[in-house]
Symmetry: C2
């Protein structure tokens, strides 16, 4: 129990530190009126979206809670933890958004002083997001474990977190892409108004989108991965009771607590170190946390369990996650070969741009698959299935800093937009753009953690499912399992198609609205202010309308397959979905990133530069990639975990 | 044994009939000099390609034969049947090409007389392809079974056929796309010379490509599917010995023989019926054969086995294959909603064209997956694993007419090209185009058979593999199997990427050559003849260079995984590859067809018609789709079967 109390203490420290940083942030008075106004628009837009989303979510959550109550033979504990999971995800995403939308203006303000001040502000704001989400995850699992001592009740927590995460991810993704396309295609292409121009009616929605997609969305995603991984590890830890006693259960929770401490120490370094280059200081954050964490893991494994094998499993997870992130970085970096090949292919037109992007994107899944196989193989070799779960916890032990890196992108991106919209000096704008570039590697690695941890968590939970159903042997070479596998492999494709279609529908509405507003000459000439809020509302409503189907399917398909075709078909379904979901998610992240940066490379002057035919070809790839990498791909992670959690929860029903 | 002798007799009848048709075809003297010249170019080009391909193939086949000899503990029988399988595939593809390249000119000649004559000639030529390939398949399996009475030796036959089929498919696909892109992008876009203009240096290579890709490629593909399905059914039939005696083994072979007879009868109707509309006569071919086949199946099941269950399984396969074909037809037909949606989306540019094509393509995999699950589920319910194999034979029982439909497309396409290149009158050209349109439904259905039969055959063989290794229980929820599954699911993506890259490399070389030749003013002005042969050679060499990797991988990966990770991981590998391979193949066929016809719909006047921005956007989709549907997708079928066959063959090695 000591280990658990220590974790709870660590989580409280992290929350306290986050509170301190937030207090610091909110103290800053913005002098520049224009910055204030623009930032206020974004803040209000984000609030509008979130409140609407929460009320839509609320209805869905209540319905699911009622069904859950009935299906679990009236287990009020399960329903309670489900509601707590959903509530924590909502709370965390709300705090994150609040922080991010407050920080963007303060970052612009900081950049007026110096690059370092700007970086420190953006980083500390992102840290708040990281610490709060991670701390809520640790607190949720540990406190509920302490209260109930019943592990199965914890599935409710993971379920609630997953459900909310899926909604926020998809809703946020659809919102941001609709706004993005609206701002780009009408504003930029038709009316020749840049996407950062205050006369562009979709400009505020675009900035709001960055926050709802990348801050709230990624936050909720990693939060639920974290909860899922901890729950899986705790459950699998029970199988190690004979060897380690209850410490097998508390060890993963302890690791999570240590991860928070490491993240805080790394954050303190980045925020308070005043020597050396700003870029170096920033770049050292993630490595410092990782090295600290490896040391902590070693000590924890030795003192808490007396087993170096667990140290091995945790480190394997951590290192493998970083490797996948580096692969993503390699494939999507503007300085590396893949992006250059696609940029070059754009010279012969949009078709070759697309074909080469798809081909390289497909190739880019090889190494990540090999890494997953090596990770599960070696961690299994070290400590059986428990080892796999510990590896998943290992990946997520640095979730604090990893989330920080994810949130950093949109904060700085927003700051850039605000700087331009408010007509800040070129020095400030250069600084915000430098800040933007710094975040690239970290963001790629963080994306790697997200995808990888989702897969490991899902695999660990699949094994939990196998154990619970007593299907120690699910015969792959049977018609039922193969049928399940086929359906499972199909699901990621359907989900991707659903979200791509949603973006199309939402974008069309947005384009119409922007076009309508721009017919008003007063807006184009700058005498009249565009109705930003209408665009935010359109994106909001479209996004909310599109969340229902994927959410319902993720819950219903496992239940239907499980009840009609049995547990072994359901196991096949999960395995199929995890495997193709992982491959598609990596493909979409990479291909999308490659197209994005191929366009940027050409915009920076390659092969004819902006306005050339090559550039136009690359814009096509970028738009295709956007709907893959920002909406379809990220939702796959959550889809997979949600399906596994639902399956684990309905086990008693399947067995009866 | 009577049943087997009857099958052999049916195969000999089919060969005789094909010989008769060929004799009729070769008797025709072409009067038009220009037609003769153009057709000669195509014939020579095709021969150049095939001979080169066969010699490259020869080396590879010999190497594999040696490895096979060593790995099978020096089983000369296995090596012999392997060589026979390879030889039959080579022979069949050669006869098919010979026929198709002879028939194109004769079809033009026939169209000068009447539409019916043209149709009859094109159809009879395609029938030759269908009968020869199907008859060789039946003969190969039956005769070797009679000689060796050892079923495992038959795997060699399937292996040889698969290997050659993979090479011909990929080689043909790369050849035809490189020529196509060369003719289109330089000739049409840069020099404003149509792809059918005799001044276009790539025009002959383009027509040759139709033959090597669609006649030789599809022929070899269906041939090896057929052999694989028969072998699987014969092997699984052994498990039914107690119930039906040896007839369980000879029944699938007998069904195949009956299929040949049904195909001949249907063909006779189409070729010799002189009443009614030409289009109706043509369209009735496939339905007549199918109905006849259902009656035959009923009689065969009743008299040979006394079991209606086998009738059920065979009919399920046949009907399900046709249904998948109809789905493909629905999705890719120019008159249906999917194509219209994508055509409409092209109005907002190439990006929305691509995104909507991908989304609808993903959606289009749902029903086919459901059909596969229902097919394997119901045929398994009727007659266990043997039922699944019988269903696979059921799909392929109409392979004669199905191959006819596949070969019909390129024959008529070539005739169209020759008509235009030789400056034939508008009446003739209209007729050849009418012939072209008639083949669409049949081609789509035939595509459905190809993909579906490959999947069923592979699944049946996977179950054979499970039985042979004694892995009656391959535990899905184990690290090894999941690892295998991950690798397996990855392979179709890698293969697709490899073939897409190959097309890119080959197309680039072709573009350079076409550009080089067109710099010669004499060619553009029509005074000098382009060097067609150089383009053929470039496509040939590029295609051959690109075949090796995929072929080697398909053979090596199962061996390496099997030997290092064991039989259960290999089972996972196969299952993963079959499942994602099927889904990707359907996606690629449908998305490619949708983009193709969306472009054609716009060319026929929709949304601004030819030359509009919408049209340009749709051309991008068409080019992306081409490399998916004509190269990457089709190769997946063979990849999957080849891997399963290799796995079955190395079982003794895995067990020792």
């Amino acid at each position: 129990m000591l280990l658990i109390w220590l974790s709870i203490a660590a989580a409280l420290v992290a929350l306290g530190f986050a509170g301190f940083l937030f207090w610091q942030l909110s103290r800053v008075k913005i002098a520049d009126e224009k910055v204030k106004i623009v930032s206020n628009y974004i803040r209000k837009g984000a609030k509008t979206f979130l409140l609407k989303e929460y009320s839509a979510l609320g209805v869905f959550v209540v319905i699911v809670a009622i069904i859950l109550f009935a299906m679990s033979a009236f287990s009020w504990q399960l329903v309670l933890t489900f509601l707590i999971g959903a509530g924590l995800a909502v709370l965390g995403s709300f705090i994150s958004m609040k922080t991010a939308t407050l920080a963007n203006a303060v970052t612009v303000d900081g950049c007026k002083k110096s690059l370092r001040t700007g970086m420190r502000i953006a980083f500390s704001a992102s840290s708040i997001v990281g610490y709060v989400m991670a701390a809520l995850g640790v607190l949720g699992v540990t406190v509920l474990y302490v209260i109930f001592k019943d592990i199965e009740v914890l599935y409710g927590l993971a379920f609630g977190a997953s459900l909310v995460a899926l909604f926020i991810r998809i809703g946020g993704g659809v919102f941001t892409k609709a706004a993005d396309i609206g701002a780009d295609s009408v504003g930029k292409m038709e009316a020749n108004i840049s996407e950062d121009d205050p006369r562009n009616p979709a400009v505020v929605a675009d900035s709001v989108g960055d926050n709802v997609g990348d801050v709230a969305g990624v936050g909720a995603d990693l939060f639920e991965s974290y909860v899922g991984a901890l729950v899986a590890a705790v459950v699998l830890g029970l199988t190690f009771l004979p060897l380690f006693g209850l410490r097998a259960v508390s060890f993963p929770l302890f690791l999570a607590g240590l991860g928070l401490i490491a993240s805080i120490l790394g954050g303190v370094f980045v925020m308070f170190n005043k020597k050396g280059k700003v870029k170096t200081t920033f770049g050292l954050g993630l490595p410092i946390v990782s090295v600290l964490m490896i040391i902590f893991m070693l000590l924890a494994a030795f003192f808490a369990l007396g087993s170096f094998k667990m140290f091995g499993a945790a480190v394997i997870g951590l290192v493998a996650g970083a490797l996948i992130g580096l692969i993503i970085y390699y494939y999507t970096s503007i300085n590396q070969k893949p992006v250059k090949i696609v940029a070059k292919a754009s010279q012969s037109g949009a078709a070759t741009n697309i074909i080469s992007g798809i081909a390289i994107g497909f190739f880019s899944t090889i190494v990540p698959v090999v890494i997953v196989v090596l990770t599960i193989g070696s961690s299994y070799y070290l400590a059986g299935i428990y080892g796999v779960a510990i590896a998943a916890v290992g990946v997520l032990s640095v979730v604090g800093i990893s989330l920080t890196m994810s949130a950093y992108g949109p904060v700085v991106d927003n700051a850039s937009s605000i700087a331009r919209m408010s007509g800040a000096g070129s020095e400030v704008r250069e600084r915000t753009e430098k800040l933007d570039a710094m975040g690239n590697t970290g963001a790629a690695i963080s994306k790697g953690y997200t995808i990888f941890s989702a897969t490991l968590t899902a695999l660990a939970l699949l094994i939990v499912f196998g154990k619970m159903t007593g299907l120690a042997e699910v015969n792959l070479v049977s018609i039922k399992v193969i049928s399940g596998l086929l359906f499972g492999a199909l699901l990621p494709f359907i989900f991707s198609a659903l979200s791509m279609r949603s973006v199309g529908i939402a974008a069309e509405k947005m384009i119409k609205e922007v076009r309508r507003q721009l017919q008003n000459g007063g807006i184009v000439s700058g005498q009249e202010e565009p109705k930003y809020n209408r665009c935010v509302k359109i994106s909001t409503n479209a996004a909310l309308g599109q969340m229902i189907w994927p959410g319902a399917l993720a819950i219903l398909v496992p239940i239907i397959i499980g009840l009609t075709m049995g547990a072994s078909a359901l196991a096949g379904l999960l395995a199929g979905a995890i495997v193709t979901g992982f491959i598609l998610a990596v493909f979409m992240a990479n291909a999308g990133g490659i197209w994005d940066n191929a366009k940027k490379a050409i915009e920076s002057g390659l092969y004819g530069g902006p306005g050339s035919d090559t550039h136009k070809a690359s814009v096509v790839g970028d738009m295709v990639g956007d709907s893959l990498k920002d909406v379809a791909g990220p939702a796959l992670n959550i889809l997979i975990k949600l399906m596994v959690i639902v399956s684990v929860i309905i086990v008693p029903l399947l067995m009866s």
